[in-house]
């Protein structure tokens, strides 16, 4: 339960570090399971733009998770 809450907090923090365009595509594709084509239509952008934003969002998300989990680990390790 605690782990899940921490994971959720990490998720939210990582999400906040994405810019709006990345965040929108990331949420719609990864969380809402929309297709790239549907996202393109809904956001009125080219499908290629959807995929490039998704790619950059994933990279940014990955970096954030790495950074945040490392920080979490070091905090946990430093606790008395």
């Amino acid at each position: 339960m605690l782990q899940r809450r921490e994971d959720l907090a990490l998720f939210e923090s990582a999400l906040e570090r994405l810019d709006m365009d990345q965040r929108a595509v990331f949420c719609l594709f990864e969380l809402e399971a929309m297709s790239g084509e549907d996202i393109a239509q809904a956001l009125e952008i080219a499908p290629g733009t959807v995929y490039s934003r998704l790619r950059s969002a994933r990279e940014a998300f990955r970096k954030s998770v790495r950074l945040l989990t490392a920080r979490q680990t070091s905090h946990a390790g430093g606790a008395p």
């Binding site: 782990q3 990490l10 998720f11 939210e12 990582a14 999400l15 965040r23 399971a33 549907d38 809904a42």
Partner: protein, 284 residues
């Protein structure tokens, strides 16, 4: 171009990444929270930071109002739906972004903050559509305007709405209401299946009307506004709808009618962010 596999199915994901992403994916998103999530996404991505020239002031103002309402709505939802807390945070993250994007633009008093009875609901007469009495209100729906290239006006509006609505349905494991993938069609979204459909429809119609007014197509705007008055008589963009109606009437030469409605508008909403703009039409 085919979609990449969902990230959760990607073997290259580390355990940490998978766990964190799974936590976000597993968030329970009740229908109303999801509706706001979609609305907030649209609000956030359609109001680019630093935007807001003369022509976009109205949209930006509405975006600010939408962001404000989204934040309030998200807070309210989070308070009563524990399972939706995570989703609420996501909504807030978008709402905050939208607020930042339009922070420099004048605030907007959402009609949703007033009782529905205060909303101006006078239908618009237009050459191509008869006046139809307003339908009952669907309260509590958050909609946001969408700013898009003028060329979008030529695209069938319902498609975008249905894409979003059907995705919502599909993602929830329900059968899509129309039982098929969204089809390109000029058929209006005459009978929204639920509040989500209606919210999306309202925001898209407001956006369409705004684009038509801004590009000087008053008659077309009146048709759109007429549809809006019929489908969302007590929607969240009542003030903006009426302000656009006044402008559209002015554009089509119906200055007396525009002046009359402008005076009523100013009497009802003296502090509206649209007041100064509407006042220009009040003097005939």
């Amino acid at each position: 171009m085919s979609d990449p596999r969902r990230w959760l199915e990607d073997p290259s994901l580390t355990d940490d990444e998978r766990r964190v992403l799974r936590a976000g994916k597993d968030i329970e998103r009740p229908g109303d929270v999801r509706e706001r999530l979609f609305a907030s996404i649209l609000a956030a991505v359609q109001f680019p930071p630093g935007g807001g020239g003369a022509g976009s002031g109205s949209g930006g103002a509405a975006g600010a109002g939408a962001a404000k309402a989204l934040t309030a709505a998200a807070s309210a939802t989070g308070a009563k739906v524990n399972a939706g807390a995570g989703a609420t945070a996501i909504v807030k993250s978008f709402a905050a972004g939208a607020a930042v994007a339009v922070a420099t633009i004048v605030g907007h008093q959402l009609v949703a903050e007033r009782p529905p009875s205060a909303v101006v609901t006078a239908p618009v007469r237009s050459a191509s559509s008869a006046t139809v009495p307003p339908r009952p209100s669907v309260a509590g729906v958050i909609g946001v305007p969408v700013s898009a290239p003028a060329a979008l006006d030529q695209r069938p509006l319902p498609v975008v709405a249905r894409v979003i609505a059907s995705s919502l349905a599909t993602a929830e494991g329900r059968v899509a209401t129309d039982g098929a993938a969204p089809a390109v069609s000029e058929a209006p979204l005459a009978t929204p299946q639920d509040a989500s459909d209606l919210a999306v429809q309202e925001s898209l119609l407001v956006a369409r009307a705004r684009r038509q007014v801004r590009s000087g197509r008053g008659a077309e705007a009146l048709v759109t506004l007429d549809e809006l008055a019929r489908t969302s008589p007590h929607g969240v963009f009542g003030q903006e709808r009426e302000a656009l109606t006044i402008e559209a009437l002015g554009l089509t030469g119906r200055r007396t009618e525009a002046a009359s409605r402008a005076k009523v508008f100013l009497g009802r909403f003296p502090n509206s962010p649209h007041a100064s703009h509407v006042a220009a039409f009040a003097g005939e």
